[in-house]
Symmetry: C2
Subunit: 136 residues, 2 copies
């Protein structure tokens, strides 16, 4: 294994990821921490995020608008992705217990994780009248 040593920057990145519910991208975290760590490098953010995911301290929520978004909440839960503003909101996961088994029976594989995401227009965008921007 890799002998992980303490690093002030890494701790700060993980803290920042834990203290937000925005499901930030690498760049979002970077610009947020850039003030506190002027010498922070974007590459470092990417490297640490990869470590978090490898260590199970974070998960990828998927890419939104071409950017990978991360979440420090690794417990299974669903997300609501606003196709209008790109926000990613947490959603109290519907009961998916037992579905894993169902899928395993159907595919013959082993489920390690699942990702449920809803795409639509968030309340804020609905209020701003930005909705249906690209609806059919």
């Amino acid at each position: 294994m890799e002998a992980r040593k303490f690093s002030k920057k890494r701790a700060a990145i993980l803290e920042a990821l834990r203290h937000t519910d925005e499901h930030p991208s690498a760049e979002m975290l970077y610009s947020r921490l850039k003030g506190e760590f002027p010498d922070l490098s974007l590459g470092t953010v990417y490297r640490n995020l990869a470590m978090f995911v490898a260590d199970g301290d974070a998960v990828s929520v998927g890419s939104v608008g071409g950017q990978e978004r991360y979440d420090a909440v690794t417990a299974p839960h669903a997300h609501f992705i606003c196709s209008c503003c790109g926000r990613v909101l947490d959603v109290c996961s519907p009961n998916l217990a037992g579905v894993d088994r169902q899928v395993e029976a159907e595919t013959g594989g082993v489920v390690l994780s699942r990702s449920l995401s809803f795409t639509g227009t968030c309340a804020r965008c609905l209020a701003s009248g930005h909705a249906d921007g690209d609806a059919v």
Copy 2:
């Protein structure tokens, strides 16, 4: 609106997408059609895939390994993504009816679509003993 004209290449791309259950990426489709259309351009595949999605003739399954994967089956259904070989399999969708309403009530937004995907090791990889390649 854009006046869509017929195009042999476009028809072929959509056909290829419809005749496979691999949920191919732009490049997968490109190399598959390159034999039949030696002068096919990758840019054309990208452009047409974007049209299909805009027209509702295809949906994006999400990105796997950095590549966007597409599906001509636009009816809601779940996917099983093998983290070992990158294959994307169709899964008979568990009953998610009513869940949209639940999410809308929780977020105050409007759900336009949902994506349920399971990540794990597929049967083929399990058999090949490639499993747990990157398990914790």
